[in-house]
Symmetry: C2
Subunit: 348 residues, 2 copies
């Protein structure tokens, strides 16, 4: 989808030249960034706060398909998914490092697009690019990003603090990124079979945006602070609701009852899932890439969050021995697995 | 060269299973590691010290050739080269994150070897593995490591502090890793042409070790502290002496006179370079991968370092307008470039 009229080969700049070219417009915005790009290492000073670090690797053909992902969106997404991990600690991202391995299939202009998307995400989250590495690859594109953030020790929220009786909450809605991906895959197949046919993506802006340009929840740690709610545990949803609930339950040694009817699903997600003959609940449970925050709160905090349209209470934590269960709309209980639940036994 | 009798396919474990399997023996040793692997992010507390961060990406076929690099050595080297950047800031590494993209060509046992090498390096440098990412790749192996360390703000040494009159110093000796690589490449070619012939690597332990298992200079920041010397600038030698001198000169806005006869070259490096009809000085200037530290000191500190057998004074910094020059053994001066110097004009 990328249309560049110019093409400058990567080897015309060389590694140092390319880095200099791409990073020339970087402005350091955070006081905590003592030294950015240009030395053996970056230097950061959080003045006594704790440092939070997370890293992700994205591989062409595994995590993204450039047949339908514009490079600028890819750059934006690559940064956003890393920052999401920092927000999931109830922390504030401040810096990232960015490494690429790129084949000569890519031009300087293509790298500019990718970098522009990264810088867009950085601007949105007030994050500085402070380092990285750029190297050649024999084929394809690999992106590795490390996000660094700060938090007061008291504010940090881990996965292991949920306790029996806590309420399970999720932000936003789920499953959209997954059905967005199905739509993109379908249109790609149609295009491959009949190259003359234009992709039919109209009217599906929301689910496409959720797949191509997900937003990390910068607003949630701020909102929770404002509401005076400190979650007892928190995780971001990258692999799907089911998998993340299981992480919290395992690490917190609790069980969970999740109520199918409470899972927030946007109508456009619901309709597109149905168009694909998929169960919308399964899309929400296993689809992943939502980058919403899943967290548990003490029951006494319920009044503080109940009026918030952006937070849904979807279940509650139980004794470890009670297991992790999905209570279906039909009222029956099924053991939840990382693949959702055993749909062969489903009573619908 | 890796000989494993067993082969367990990666997909038998899955991503979470593989991570769990590989990280099961990790023990957190540093007090600053508040939270290691297992949450959305790691948490670090340097108690008011500054945080130093560096990252590197290594790509199969570009940075390493598994035809002659054992995976355990590769793991050791991948960690060491990252820690080298932290030492080059005069800081102390404390944590790393480790990400891989791996094709199914690799077995679980192969990943165990790689990880074992990484853990060996971590043990040596008292560094904790606190996070990472593991993903599949369509082909090959990509390793991305981020090293995190601490320093008092006053102890940090950047590339931009060298001034006219400072002495240029280097640790250890140079060029060995490069001639070691030439030797490995030669034996690989011979093996490919006559698979029955065993590689002839005997008697070259030093240069092979320098290429396959380089040691990051953990001792140098400690030594400098003991000698009461704070360098005015410092960098590690990854791309070759010439390139690193130019980095210091550019960032410090100074010139430099480098004396060929002062460049420390081990006799085994010298002899092997000659066997390859290469100029040993060129190997030292451009070979790279030495992971020694290059630094400048005030002239008044010379008495403190002059008796140290592990530090060589190889030149001095001049006015910016004097340029960056190599003074050859023959006494003539040549402008230094990142490719060494214009050897066509050489007077030998």
């Amino acid at each position: 989808m990328l249309e560049n009229t110019e093409r400058t080969e990567l080897n015309t700049l060389g590694e140092f030249g390319l880095i200099k070219h791409l990073t020339q417009f970087i402005e350091i915005k955070n006081e905590s960034t003592i030294k950015g790009i240009g030395d053996d290492a970056a230097v950061i000073d959080y003045k006594g706060k704790q440092t939070v670090i997370s890293t992700d690797m994205l591989v062409e053909g595994v995590h993204f398909d450039l047949a339908y992902v514009p490079l600028k969106h890819l750059g934006f997404k690559a940064v956003s998914v890393n920052l999401s991990d920092i927000y999931a600690m109830n922390a504030t991202p401040k810096q990232i490092t960015v490494s690429f391995a790129i084949s000569n299939r890519f031009s300087v202009e293509a790298m500019e697009e990718l970098y522009a998307g990264m810088m867009m995400a950085c601007k949105k989250h007030n994050v500085d690019i402070v380092g990285g590495d750029t190297t050649t690859a024999k084929s394809g594109l690999v992106i590795s990003i490390t996000a660094i953030g700060e938090a007061n020790a008291d504010d940090l929220v881990y996965r292991n603090g949920a306790k029996e009786g806590d309420l399970l909450c999720v932000t936003g809605d789920l499953g959209a990124a997954y059905v967005g991906l199905q739509l993109l895959e379908r249109e790609k197949q149609i295009y491959l079979e009949s190259p003359g046919v234009q992709p039919d993506l109209g009217g599906n802006d929301y689910i496409l945006e959720r797949q191509l340009k997900p937003e990390a929840r910068i607003d949630i740690p701020v909102l929770l602070k404002k509401l005076d709610v400190k979650p007892t545990s928190m995780i971001d949803i990258s692999d799907g609701l089911a998998s993340e609930i299981l992480h919290i339950c395992t690490q917190s040694s609790v069980g969970c009852n999740l109520f199918e009817e409470k899972i927030p699903i946007d109508p456009s997600t619901y309709n597109m899932a149905r168009e694909f003959n998929m169960d919308p609940t399964i899309c929400a449970l296993n689809g992943g890439e939502d980058y919403e925050l899943l967290f548990t709160i003490d029951q006494s905090d319920f009044p503080k969050i109940k009026a918030n349209p952006d937070i849904s209470v979807i279940g509650h934590m139980t004794r470890n021995s009670d297991g992790v269960n999905l209570i279906t709309k039909g009222g029956t209980s099924h053991t939840l697995t990382a693949q959702g639940w055993d749909s062969m036994k489903r009573d619908v």
